[in-house]
C-alpha cells in the first residue's frame, strides 16, 4: 500500500504495483457481486411479486411484505399458460430442427467448397442477419391469406405460420456461425479422408460434420433462443388462439381481467418461463458463449 512496504522488498521500477493483495481480491469480488446483482435482482422482484396476492402486490412496494400464496400460479394455469409454454417449445424446437441441417450445408459450402462469388455470398449472409422482422409482417400475412384462398391451407394461427419466417430469419446467423466453425477445421483431415477413398459428401458427413459439433450446437442454441424470444411475428400471425400462442405473446399482451391489475399473474407466468430458460442457459453456457463470440473474435 505505502512506499514503506515497497522499499525493502522491491526495486525502484515498480513503485505503484504493491496494492495489498487482500484489498485487490476484495475489490474483484465486489465487482463480480455487482455483475451478479445486476443480472439477478429483477428475478428476485419477479419471484417475490408472483407470490403476493394481487391487491397487496399493487399497493405496497415492499416485496417482502406478505401474505404470500400460490394463487397467482393457479390462475395462470387456469388461463392456459401451460399451452403457451408447450407452443413455444414446439415452435422453437421445430425451427431449430429445420434451420440447423439446412444451414450446416450452406455453411460448409461457403467455408470449404470451391465456388464463384463466395465473398459476395458470405457478405450477403452477413447483411441478411440485419433483416428487420417488421418488413415481413404484412407481406407474409397477405401471402398467407392468398395461399388460403388458393389452396385451403391456412398458415395463420398455425405453428407452421411462425416456423417458416423464423427459419428464414435465423438461417443467416446460423450459416455465418457454422461457416466460421467449418473454416476452423484443418483441411488436412478432410483431404486425408478423401485420399482414403471417401467422396466429398462422405468426407463432409463422416469427418467434418462431427468435428464441427460444437459449432452446430452453438448455432442450434442461438436459433432456439431467437425463436423463444420472437414477439412481433408471433403476435401478428397467432395473436390469440391458445392452441398456437407462444409465451412472449401470452405474457406481452396479458390483458387485465375486469378491473384488477394482473401484476401477480404476469409475474407468475414470467417465473414459469424464466426457470426453464435459465437452467437452459446455465447448462449450455459454454456452447452459448462460443456461438455468440465466434464472429467477434478471430481464430
Amino acid at each position: 500500500m505505502t512506499a514503506e512496504t515497497v522499499k525493502p522488498s522491491g526495486p525502484v521500477h515498480r513503485p505503484r504495483r504493491r496494492t495489498h493483495p487482500a484489498v485487490v481480491n476484495a475489490l474483484k469480488l465486489l465487482g463480480l457481486l455487482l455483475v451478479l446483482g445486476w443480472c439477478l435482482f429483477p428475478f428476485l422482484w419477479m419471484g417475490m411479486t408472483s407470490l403476493r396476492s394481487g391487491s397487496v402486490a399493487l399497493t405496497d412496494p415492499n416485496i417482502f411484505q406478505g401474505p404470500f400464496s400460490l394463487s397467482n400460479y393457479e390462475q395462470v394455469f387456469d388461463l392456459g399458460f401451460q399451452f403457451a409454454l408447450r407452443n413455444s417449445l414446439i415452435v422453437a424446437a421445430v425451427t431449430t430442427a429445420i434451420c440447423i441441417p439446412v444451414a450446416s450445408l450452406a455453411g460448409y459450402a461457403l467455408a470449404r467448397l470451391p465456388m464463384a462469388g463466395k465473398f459476395a455470398l458470405l457478405a450477403a449472409t452477413l447483411v441478411a442477419t440485419l433483416f428487420p422482422p417488421v418488413a415481413l409482417v404484412n407481406p407474409l400475412y397477405q401471402v398467407y391469406l392468398k395461399l388460403n384462398q388458393w389452396t385451403g391451407i391456412n398458415l395463420l394461427n398455425s405453428y407452421a405460420g411462425m416456423i417458416i419466417p423464423y427459419v428464414a430469419l435465423t438461417l443467416p446467423l446460423a450459416i455465418f456461425i457454422l461457416a466460421t466453425f467449418f473454416a476452423g477445421i484443418p483441411r488436412e483431415i478432410e483431404e486425408s479422408a478423401k485420399v482414403d477413398g471417401a467422396t466429398p459428401f462422405q468426407a463432409f458427413l463422416r469427418v467434418v460434420a462431427p468435428l464441427a459439433a460444437p459449432g452446430v450446437g452453438a448455432a442450434a442454441i442461438l436459433t432456439f433462443v431467437y425463436s423463444t424470444n420472437e414477439f412481433l411475428l408471433a403476435f401478428s400471425f397467432a395473436p390469440r388462439d391458445l392452441n398456437v400462442q407462444t409465451v412472449p405473446v401470452f405474457v406481452g399482451t396479458f390483458e387485465r381481467v375486469g378491473y384488477e391489475n394482473p401484476i401477480g399473474q404476469i409475474m407468475a407466468a414470467s417465473v414459469l418461463v424464466s426457470v426453464p430458460l435459465i437452467l437452459f442457459a446455465l447448462v449450455l453456457q459454454r456452447r452459448i458463449v462460443a456461438g455468440l463470440t465466434s464472429g467477434a473474435v478471430k481464430g
Binding site: L29, L32, L105, P114, L122, L130, P139, L171, T293
Partner: protein, 298 residues
Amino acid sequence: MAKTQSVSTRRGLGERAMGRIFLAPSFAFMAVIALFPVFYAIGMSLYSIRGFHQEFTGFDNYARVLTDAGFFNAVGNTLVFTVASVSLEFVVGMAFALIMHQAFVGRGLTRAVILVPWVIPTAVAAQVWRYMFDHNPGFVNSVLGTDVNWLRDPAWSMVGIISADVWKTAPFVALLLLAGLQTIPKDYYEAARVDGATVVQRFWFITLPLLRPAIVVALLFRTVDALRMFDFAYVFAGYSNSLATLSVYAQRFLVAEPELGYANALSTVTFVIVMIVGLAFISRMGRHMVGDVARKEK
C-alpha cells in the same frame, strides 16, 4: 498451395456441384420467405388501400411519410432509444468485461449468470420492468425515493425502456468484449507496465485498439437490434406516440388504424434505414469478418 490445387481440380466437378446443391436450400428459402416479401411490400406501398378499396397512387405514400409528424416522432424516439441504450450498454458492458477479466475466483459462475438476462424473452423482460416502474406498487420509486409516474410521462417511460434494454443486453455486450479481451496477449501489458504506463494509458493504448474488432461487432448487433426494436416499446406503451419506434409506428397502420399501403411504405422505409446503418457498419468491418472465413479456407 499447389498440392491443394491439384486435389481440388481432380475433385473439381464433384465439389462445385456439391457446393451449389448445399447452398440451394438456404438461399432459396431466404429468397422466397424474406426477399420476396420485401418486394411485395414495395409493390403494396404504391397503392392506397382502405378496406376493400384499392387504388394505385405511385409514390404518394412515400411523400406522405416525409410530411408525417408521427413518422418523425417515431424516428426521434428510435434515435434517442438507440443512441442512449447502445452507448450505455457499451459502457456498462465494458466495465463488466473488465471486472470479469480481472477476477479469477467466481469467474465461471459470473459468466454463466451473465447469460440469464439475455435468454429471457424480451416481451417477458418488458412486462417485468414495466411493473417495476409502474406507479403502483411503485418499486422503482421506492428504491430511488422519487415520486414519478414513469409510465404516464413519455420522457420517463423512455428512461424506463432504455433501462430495461440496458439491463437485458449489457451482459451480452460484456460477453463479446470479454472474449475479445482474452485474445490480447498479457505480455503487452507487462511491457507497457515496465515502461511506466498507467492503468488508464494501458486501457487507452492497448486494450481499446486491440479490442476494436469485438467492439465493432458488438456495436453492430446492438445498434441494428435497437433500430428495429418493437417489444419493449409496445409492451410499455402500446401503439401510442409516446414511445412509438419505427417498427411500432409501421405496425400501427396495419393493426390499429389499418391503411395497408401506408403501413407497407413505413415498413419499407424502416427496412431501408436499418439496412443502411447495418451496411455502414459492415463495410467498416465486414471485410475483416468475412475475410476471416475466406482466409482460413486457404
